[in-house]
């Protein structure tokens, strides 16, 4: 097996762990500021490193770049194998960017006055960043599984220690729910790896493409389908795809602001990333066969999420259910199994991370000021904090998918892809469009209830002005919203080659499957 030297990607990946190690030696009481600035410093440094990776990345090359591979357990064919293509890159950028927002938003948070343990909090944040980045760059199934499971632990503690009143229930539910899904994936991982004699994903995919490894497929319930479902259920719980979403509102509502931002911004994307990276290339026949079913669940998620969102009195819950709806778009984009749908899905993953992350930041800022998430407690906030209101309007509109902003580009491309898809087609596109309209209803309802109207409640008249860190965070989000909205081609270009190669891999098997199922 080839051994390779230290790759820049590994250096970037392990930067947060260096930060975590430094944090360990800082004193909780005496060095509060040092703890905060070390965390921020390392998250910014990690982000800058991903920018460097971006500048060195060759978008025309669909293969893995910055590859590093070292033996870890050669007896089983497991290696520390990391590498990135355009798909990994765009999600790395998202992860490290969201992480800075999350850390910054924690600076003004009141949770530490109640719960303390600030050092532990930032240690978990850095651990989480490391694990999430690992998920996006791991190219070995076991290493991927390790990173995937490790993300559970810090998130569990973030929700459980610094969450709302019902935090223990939410944390345990999150942990058990996600673990139940991923542990079935472990069995599928072990089966595939055991048969391929290696756990390296590119090698497994090459074996499948060349016919050297055959995972028997003869219908919706055959070996390959079960393996596909083993992976898919783990990912579907993370996304979450309807009906696996019930952990999400609890976790979101109870999590501290930074936790919600990371959850919505990055963790959910691990699910859709997993589908693109593992399900489609390793189980192409099953993916084609199951596409209409998963697509149906995606559409149900779009409409159901929007519907339930509209009924919420709790702003955070409203935003949480809107995630179910938005991620439904990503799912149908992926299972369109064509270039447009896939690219739209990838961009929509980023868009949702930025917009919904932004919405959770807004909710967090409101909560810090008023200590309530009840939508009826607000009204006329625009008059109290006009700048805040303006920024909020842009983020809300982006989440709705207003043309000119980022959300539109993603959803439009997905619908285009769905419409022209062999697997999904016109009906799916039609019902999904309904979701866009519903999104406008519940988003505008929220905005109107919170920001517009008369400033008639006494408590709302003297809100704390915005802190510098809050302004920085929101302005950055808004800038990105515009940037992606007016110049989407740059982002599409980044993932163009890698998504095409994945689609081509599936398309190679698609015709005979479609024929077989007819």
């Amino acid at each position: 097996m080839e051994m390779s030297g230290l790759s820049l990607l590994t250096v970037t990946l392990f930067l947060p762990m260096v930060g975590l190690t430094i944090l360990m030696f800082l004193n909780e009481e005496k060095q509060r500021n040092a703890i905060r600035w070390t965390t921020l410093g390392f998250s910014i440094a990690t982000f800058l490193m991903t920018l460097v990776l971006w500048s060195l990345h060759d978008p025309a090359n669909p293969g893995l770049q910055f590859v590093q591979r070292n033996d870890w357990l050669p007896t089983f064919g497991v290696s520390y194998y990391v590498g990135m293509d355009g798909l990994s890159l765009i999600l790395l950028l998202l992860t490290t960017f969201i992480m800075i927002l999350a850390v910054l938003s924690s600076f003004t948070s009141h949770i530490f006055e109640e719960r303390g343990r600030e050092k532990l909090y930032y240690m978990f944040m850095l651990l989480l960043e490391w694990a999430m980045m690992g998920v996006f760059v791991a190219q070995d199934l076991v290493i991927f599984y390790i990173f995937w499971e490790v993300t559970l632990v810090p998130m569990y503690f973030l929700v459980g220690i610094w969450g709302g009143d019902n935090r223990v229930y939410a944390a345990v539910k999150f942990f058990l729910y996600t673990m139940a899904g991923s542990i079935l994936m472990l069995l599928a991982v072990l089966y595939v790896g055991g048969n391929a004699q290696t756990f390296a994903v590119p090698e497994i995919v090459a074996q499948i493409q060349s016919g050297a490894l055959v995972l028997p497929f003869d219908g919706l319930f055959s070996t390959q389908s079960f393996l596909f479902l083993g992976f898919l259920i783990a990912f579907a719980i993370k996304v979450p795809i309807f009906p696996f979403h019930s952990w999400l509102p609890d976790a979101h509502v109870q999590a501290p602001t930074a936790g919600s931002v990371i959850l919505a911004g990055v963790l959910l994307k691990m699910g859709t990333y997993g589908i693109i990276r593992f399900c489609l290339p390793m189980f192409p026949e099953a993916s084609v066969a199951w596409a209409p079913f998963v697509g149906t669940l995606g559409v149900i998620g779009i409409i159901y999420g929007a519907w339930v969102s509209y009924a919420q009195k709790d702003i955070k819950k409203l935003v949480a259910y809107s995630s179910v709806s938005h991620m439904g778009f990503v799912v149908i984009g992926i299972f369109s199994l064509n270039a447009a749908g896939m690219q739209g899905a990838v961009l929509q993953m980023v868009n949702h991370g930025i917009s919904t992350g932004g919405l959770f930041l807004l909710v967090g800022m409101l909560y810090e000021r008023r200590h309530t998430k009840d939508i009826n407690a607000y009204g006329g906030i625009w008059k109290a904090l006009p700048f805040f209101g303006a920024l909020s309007l842009i983020i809300t509109l982006s989440s709705m998918g207003l043309p000119g902003l980022n959300g539109f580009v993603g959803e439009f491309t997905i619908l285009l892809g769905t419409f022209g898809s062999q697997t999904l087609g016109f009906t799916f596109a039609l019902f999904s469009t309904l979701g866009v309209i519903l999104a406008a209803i519940y988003m505008l309802y929220m905005f109107q209830k919170v920001f517009l109207g008369e400033l008639d409640k006494e408590e709302n008249k003297h809100l704390h002005p915005m802190a510098w860190s809050e302004i920085t965070v929101l302005v950055t989000v808004v800038v990105l919203i515009f940037w992606i909205g007016v110049q989407p081609s740059m982002w599409f270009h980044m993932v163009d080659a890698s998504t095409k190669s994945i689609i081509d891999g599936v398309a190679h098997f698609a015709p005979q499957i479609t024929a077989m199922l007819k």
């Binding site: 089983f76 935090r167 072990l190």
Partner: protein, 501 residues
């Protein structure tokens, strides 16, 4: 029959186990002559004995030789088992020194009994003959009965000793009867010779086959008692709860090591070809599979409703026996038997570190009268004892099987062997019950970290106990990060009777 010469006996190969047994007698004599205020020296002498035996084991790790007229085999399998049990014994000594003193039950004999039981486990791992298995079983068990009842003025401890003794006596009887039937069918008690005889018997069938089947069944029952698998687990929670905590820690690991070593030897070395009907797979595979499934389900589900930490860990140890039994079932597949045995070895090593670590933390918060070990006593431990709590959290994650801990390495290998042997339903039951186990392990973490409270002062966390916790923690993390270290040691392990001479 001629008397074998010394060189034919090959005493050298047996040294790690024999030395420990001889050391026990030495220890008993020394203890009498030590003045009362220096009795703690006995513990250190015991530790030294364990250390010497450990070095001897490592020095001859990959040797493969027979001793004592083919009744004893020293091979990488037994070396690995010896290594695990010696580590467990050493950790138990560290746990026991202060504990026995503060609970007022310090006696020199305790250390002799501990070493005697350890040497029993080692003989069991090396047994190449049903008679040796039986003697080792008794050598392992009888000291444990006494140790379980060591807190002699406490009713629960006496109940533990009594219960363990009576059920242990039953299981010994089962074993002897099973061994007798196998002898009746094959005319030998030597494991490789049984292997040779079985092939002929299965093809001809008849009464001999029936004897063999019943005999194998009885042996599975007897060893099932020792490793505490369902439905032979009833004694476990009571004995684990009543016995002094260091004894529980040792019992939960040592007795299982011995039991599984014998189970693997008897089933894989002697009876792999015990097939009936058309199927080439051994008949015991189905039995073991059913027991494994039941054990995982019952152990994990009942553990959920426990509030006493020792009882919870008792049921958890039952569940873990189920996971190891999954590897035993996988070893029934002739192509997978070595891989499955290796998986069981790695699992036992991970389990030993994790479980002893967990018991060490329980021991640290235990009061002198044996109370204070309810789940609620853990509330706020993260504030009062942050390091101890962090390590307990890692032990719990490891028992759950979360990556980067030893527990994941163990579960990974076990599941891999089960899948390679095509035992899919068993593997699925295994992973789903792991999720159930996450619930009660996480409850420990919830109490330590997520629930606010004053926190236990953990007065039992003396320096020795802390060392034991740190050592276990190091073992858990190293095995989680570098599983290759354990895998390399299992490289040469083979149980299949290729070595029939």
């Amino acid at each position: 029959m001629t008397t074998p010469t010394l060189s034919e006996l090959n005493i050298g190969a047996t040294l790690p186990a024999v030395l420990l047994a001889v050391g026990t007698i030495f220890l008993l004599m020394v203890d009498i002559f030590l003045p009362k205020e220096r009795r703690h020296l006995t513990a250190w002498l015991a530790l030294a004995g364990v250390g010497i035996s450990f070095v001897l084991t490592l020095a001859n790790f990959k040797n493969q030789s027979y001793a004592l007229a083919d009744m004893f085999v020293a091979d990488p399998f037994s070396s690995f088992m010896n290594m695990i049990v010696l580590i467990s014994t050493a950790l138990t000594v560290l746990l026991g020194i202060d504990y026995m003193r503060r609970t007022g039950i310090a006696r020199g004999e305790f250390w002799s009994l501990l070493l005697l039981s350890t040497s029993g486990v080692m003989f069991m791992a090396s047994a190449n003959d049903l008679i040796v298995v039986f003697i080792a079983l008794e050598l392992l068990s009888i000291p444990l009965y006494v140790m379980a009842a060591f807190r002699s003025n406490n009713a629960k401890s006496e109940e533990a000793g009594m219960k363990y003794f009576i059920l242990g006596a039953f299981s010994s009887a089962f074993f002897v009867y099973g061994a007798a039937l196998i002898y009746g069918a094959t005319g030998t008690t030597n494991l490789p010779e049984i292997f040779t005889a079985v092939a002929g018997i299965t093809s001809t069938g008849g009464a001999s086959l029936a004897y063999l089947l019943v005999g194998a069944g009885l042996i599975i029952v007897a060893l099932g008692f020792k490793v505490a698998v369902v439905p032979f687990h009833m004694w476990t929670p009571d004995v684990y709860e009543g016995a002094p905590t260091p004894v529980t820690a040792f019992m939960s690991v040592g007795a299982k090591i011995g039991g599984f070593a014998a189970l693997l030897r008897v089933l894989v070395t002697a009876l792999p070809a015990l097939a009936a009907g058309q199927s080439p797979d051994p008949v015991w595979q189905n039995t073991v599979m059913i027991i494994a499934a039941l054990t995982m389900i019952v152990g994990n589900f009942v553990a959920v409703s426990q509030s006493n930490l020792k009882r919870m860990l008792a049921y958890s140890s039952i569940a873990h026996a189920g996971y190891i039994l999954m590897a035993v079932a996988a070893a029934g597949n002739p192509l997978q038997s070595d891989a499955a045995a290796k998986a069981a070895l790695v699992y036992l090593l991970s389990y030993a570190f994790t479980n002893i670590g967990a018991f060490a933390v329980v021991l640290a918060i235990e009061k002198n009268d044996g109370s204070g070990i309810e789940l609620s006593n853990l509330i706020g431990l993260a504030r009062s004892k942050p390091i101890l709590a962090a390590m307990m959290a890692v032990f719990m994650l490891s028992l759950t099987g979360i990556p980067l801990t030893a527990g994941f390495t163990g579960k990974w290998f076990i599941f891999q062997s089960a899948i390679s042997a095509n035992l899919f339903p068993l593997a699925i039951i295994g992973v789903l019950t792991s999720v159930v186990s996450a619930f009660y392990y996480m409850r420990v973490v919830v109490n330590m970290y997520l629930t606010d409270g004053a926190g236990d002062p953990a007065e039992g966390a003396t320096p020795y106990v802390n060392w034991a916790v740190y050592a276990s923690f190091a073992g858990v993390v190293v095995l989680g990060l570098f599983p290759i270290l354990a895998v390399n040691l299992t490289d040469a392990v083979t149980l299949v009777a290729l070595n029939v001479r």
